[in-house]
């Protein structure tokens, strides 16, 4: 390690004021601090010791929580391909097939995002914040595996520049940057974000199995409901591949969908990691599920069409509900910041998601819009929560 420390120490001179690469100091600093935690010490007045946590570790914890979703997603990309084409693939074949599809998307997302982050850090002379480490992984996981790489690149650029940097960078953004990227693609290139795009068919488009359809559970629910015939669950059980949309399959995530979002089980593993480490808010995760489930039950009671009659627990395993609840809604910057606010914020995300799905099926992925909407409303929720605290204090004064 001494050797590495020595190299960095030697190179640092060039980046310090007066050095020939002075402008790039913060880029150098980002790399140096990634290797070595800096030797900075506490100020002379104030706390003399500090907690061992830092932002890098916190962000890394979120990435670790996403790894189950990523690995499962890679396998599932391969598995869906095998199902659709009837190809005989072993576990490793599916993993490798999936990795070939998914890893380039991850690399493009990180490459473009970090490039812009470093650029802004150099331009604005501030340290590189670690926030993008998480965003860079969230973006691939919420996109379909068939997405062209250039789209990943511009969506990431849009998310970082318009979603984050224009507001002042990490910690200042209003919207969740990863969802900003997804929403950008959803509205700018709808043909690539809906329809027959969920399964990677590759050059096998001509050799699909009999009766193959690229529909997802949500689109089946919509079709059934708008045709006015039959029940959604029956329609899902009657899909082209035996048991593809059974509740169990939806829970496990062996269905077509965005790369990381299909498996509720993997999301729940991530949720456990986030809650145990205290990095993600249990209040938000629990209340999103509660909000979705209770709204589902309410719609069941009032059901006038097949989608409204869909059993409430199906909503929690379909589409990106679980992924959004665990990884998107819990973003501390764009979410509600007060403890009571988090309950309200989460509950409304769950409720809005189900309402959007059922009543506005033009946007089958209600989760994305529900979270973005609540991102905008989170400061309002906090305002009222904090205002109640202020009123309590004033009331105390007059007694």
């Amino acid at each position: 390690m001494k050797f590495l420390q020595h190299i960095l120490h030697e190179q640092k001179k060039n980046f310090l004021p007066g050095g020939k690469l002075e402008k790039f100091y913060y880029a150098f600093e980002a790399i140096e601090t990634l290797m070595f935690v800096p030797d900075s010490t506490t100020a002379s007045r104030g706390v003399q010791v500090r907690d061992a946590i830092d932002l890098k570790r916190m962000m890394m914890t979120v990435i670790i929580a996403m790894i189950p979703c990523l690995l499962f997603g890679m396998w599932n990309v391969g598995h869906q391909h095998a199902l659709a084409t009837g190809a005989a693939m072993e576990f490793m074949d599916k993993m490798i097939f999936g990795a070939i599809q998914v890893l380039p998307i991850v690399i493009v997302s990180y490459g473009v995002g970090l490039g812009i982050e470093f650029g802004f850090a150099i331009m604005r002379k501030h340290p590189v914040n670690e926030g993008f480490l998480v965003t860079g992984m969230l973006i691939p996981l919420c996109l379909p595996a068939t997405i062209p790489l250039w789209m990943v690149a511009i969506a990431t650029a849009f998310a970082v520049v318009i979603g984050k940097e224009v507001f002042g960078g990490t910690g200042m953004n209003v919207l969740n940057p990863a969802l900003t990227a997804r929403a950008f693609l959803f509205f700018a290139y709808p043909a690539y974000m809906a329809g027959e795009i969920w399964t990677v068919l590759g050059d096998q488009k001509a050799n699909l199995v009999n009766g193959y359809s690229g529909a997802t559970a949500l689109s089946i629910a919509y079709e059934t409901s708008s045709s006015g015939q039959g029940e959604v669950v029956a329609a899902m059980n009657n899909s082209w591949s035996d048991g593809l949309f059974s509740f169990w399959n939806l829970f496990m995530g062996v269905v077509p969908g965005s790369i990381g979002e299909t498996s509720t089980l993997m999301c729940l593993i991530g949720a456990v990691i986030l809650i145990v480490t205290g990095v993600g808010s249990a209040r938000i995760i629990v209340s999103v599920f509660a909000g979705g489930y209770l709204t589902g039950l309410l719609l069941n009671a009032l059901a006038v069409n097949a989608f409204m009659a869909l059993p409430a627990h199906y909503h929690l395993v379909m589409g990106g509900f679980a992924f959004g609840a665990v990884f998107m809604a819990t973003d501390p910057v764009s979410g509600s910041q007060t403890n009571s606010g988090k309950w309200i914020y989460g509950f409304l995300i769950g409720a809005m998601c189900v309402l959007i799905r059922v009543f506005n099926p033009a946007y089958p992925e209600g989760m994305m819009l529900a979270i973005l909407l609540m991102n905008v409303l989170a400061p309002l929720i906090d305002f009222y929560v904090v205002d109640a605290n202020k009123k309590r204090r004033l009331k105390r004064a007059t007694v």
Binding site: S40, T42, A43, Q48, L55, M58, M60, M172, G278, Q337
Partner: protein, 455 residues
């Protein structure tokens, strides 16, 4: 009606090197220092002495130009050897070379009934001219109290919950008379109550359980239960326009001695503690003592940080520096100016963390484990990202993050509405400790208090 308060929010930082319950033989530090910067709320000072002057314990050194009645006096007798000034000739410290035998300015002395019958005006006069007034701190703002005010209540915290803080059971054995006299004096200044709050789970200290004329409250829970601000919040909170006073136990004793002994006697037991001290124990010194004699042959190594006070609210001083006026411990920890390879991700159970993010395993250790912590910041300063964690160490009905942001925005209305009158920087020390983004929260809070004072 004494109150029983239970708080659950907070965090006890257990450090290695707590002072053994033995009191060492007397030490005589050679020099003493009074730093005007220790006294918050003080205006520009008028210096009353110059280098070479002889002073006694209780001789005025300077007064506050905002209120000339408040005199700041010498804790010991001796010769003024140095007046250190900073920018714009601001006085930084006044150094006194102490006599072998301390001689005191004599003030009026009273017996018990004399103290009871003493008028408020006479008591005030003696407190102001002797320098003992500096022990009375006003909330809001945590500044030296103003002589004209009559506070709605006075609060004394009967224990210190900071890391490695001195055990009051050990250091306050022999001061019962002075303590009681101090309380009697303080009672003259308020029409309300004098509150004394002790920890519910610690053995009772006779001086406190015998105290007369006070409301004895109990509080249980982790640090910051010993912070007087937390106690005020739960007993009789400060609203806009309210003034309360707080005095430390040591301060009450100093005030009491002024009237029972007729002299300004700041003598106190302090704890020399921390992981880098060979034999952590108690020493008896006057306020502002030099630490070099205490540290002599007590340091395990030389690359250390010497702190006047505790690790949460203290101040770094040189190894031959001097203690702050209000401090009752000297903590010595390793200096943390080293780089750590991949230290931001490698798992460790040795590093203490309130949080449990990946690899921070200290929560698995038994709660009695004592840690050796150094002064490394363990990361760089960042924008505020994490939410909800400050609330876990803030046992008041206050939104700490929102208040800190209001201060940064210099939004006076928000600061007031969010409760800045109730807090001092020490109440935010744990927030600063747990902060992922490594902001200097206490400094921000002090800036907020200054803004409010000057508004």
């Amino acid at each position: 009606m004494s109150k029983n308060i239970k708080i659950t929010k907070g965090f006890d930082i257990r450090l290695a090197g707590s002072a053994a319950a033995t009191q060492s033989p007397e030490v005589h530090p050679e020099t003493y220092v009074i730093k005007p910067t220790d006294f918050y709320g003080i205006g520009r000072q008028k210096l009353l002495i110059q280098q070479g002057d002889q002073v006694k314990a209780g001789s005025p050194l300077f007064f506050d130009k905002n209120d000339e009645r408040i005199q700041y006096t010498s804790p010991v007798s001796g010769e003024i050897v140095e007046v250190n000034r900073g920018e714009k000739r601001k006085i930084l410290e006044i150094k006194i070379l102490a006599d072998k035998e301390n001689s005191y300015v004599s003030f009026n002395k009273y017996d018990q009934s004399g103290i009871e019958s003493l008028s408020k005006e006479d008591a005030l006069q003696q407190l102001l001219s002797s320098g003992a007034w500096a022990n009375i701190i006003q909330r809001p703002y945590a500044i030296v109290a103003k002589p004209g005010d009559s506070p709605k209540a006075i609060f004394v915290s009967g224990f210190d919950s900071h890391p490695l803080a001195p055990d009051y059971k050990v250091i306050f054995k022999e001061d019962e008379t002075a303590f009681q006299a101090g309380l009697s004096i303080l009672r003259k200044f308020t029409s309300g109550k004098v509150h004394l709050t002790v920890h519910a789970d610690q053995p009772a200290i006779p001086m406190f359980s015998n105290a007369k004329g006070v409301q004895l409250n109990k509080i249980s829970g982790p640090h910051p239960s010993g912070n007087v601000g937390v106690q005020i919040h739960h007993i009789d909170p400060i609203n806009k326009g309210d003034i309360v006073w707080t005095v430390s136990v040591q301060g009450v004793i100093c005030i009491g001695r002024l009237f029972t002994e007729g002299r300004y006697n700041t003598s106190k037991w302090i704890a020399l503690c921390g992981s880098e001290i060979k034999n952590p124990k108690y020493y008896r010194v006057f306020a502002g003592a030099s630490v070099n004699l205490l540290l002599k042959e007590q340091l395990k190594q030389n690359h250390v940080r010497v702190i006047s006070g505790n690790v949460l609210t203290g101040e770094r001083i040189a190894a031959d520096g001097h203690m702050g006026y209000y401090h009752q411990q000297v903590t010595v920890i390793p200096e943390g100016d080293y780089q750590e390879f991949l230290g931001w991700i490698l798992p460790s159970a040795k590093k203490l963390s309130f949080q449990r993010a990946f690899g921070l395993l200290s929560f698995l250790n038994p709660s009695s484990k004592e840690y050796v912590l150094d002064s490394n910041t363990h990361g760089e300063e960042r924008a505020f990202v994490q939410t909800g964690v400050f609330e876990k160490v803030m046992p008041m009905d206050i939104y700490p993050m929102q208040l800190v942001k209001a201060i940064l925005a210099k939004d006076y209305t928000e600061m007031e509405a969010l409760g800045i009158y109730e807090v001092a920087e020490e109440d935010f020390a744990l927030c600063e400790f747990v902060d992922v983004s490594k902001n200097d929260i206490q400094q921000i809070v002090r800036e907020g208090l200054e803004l409010m004072i000057n508004s």
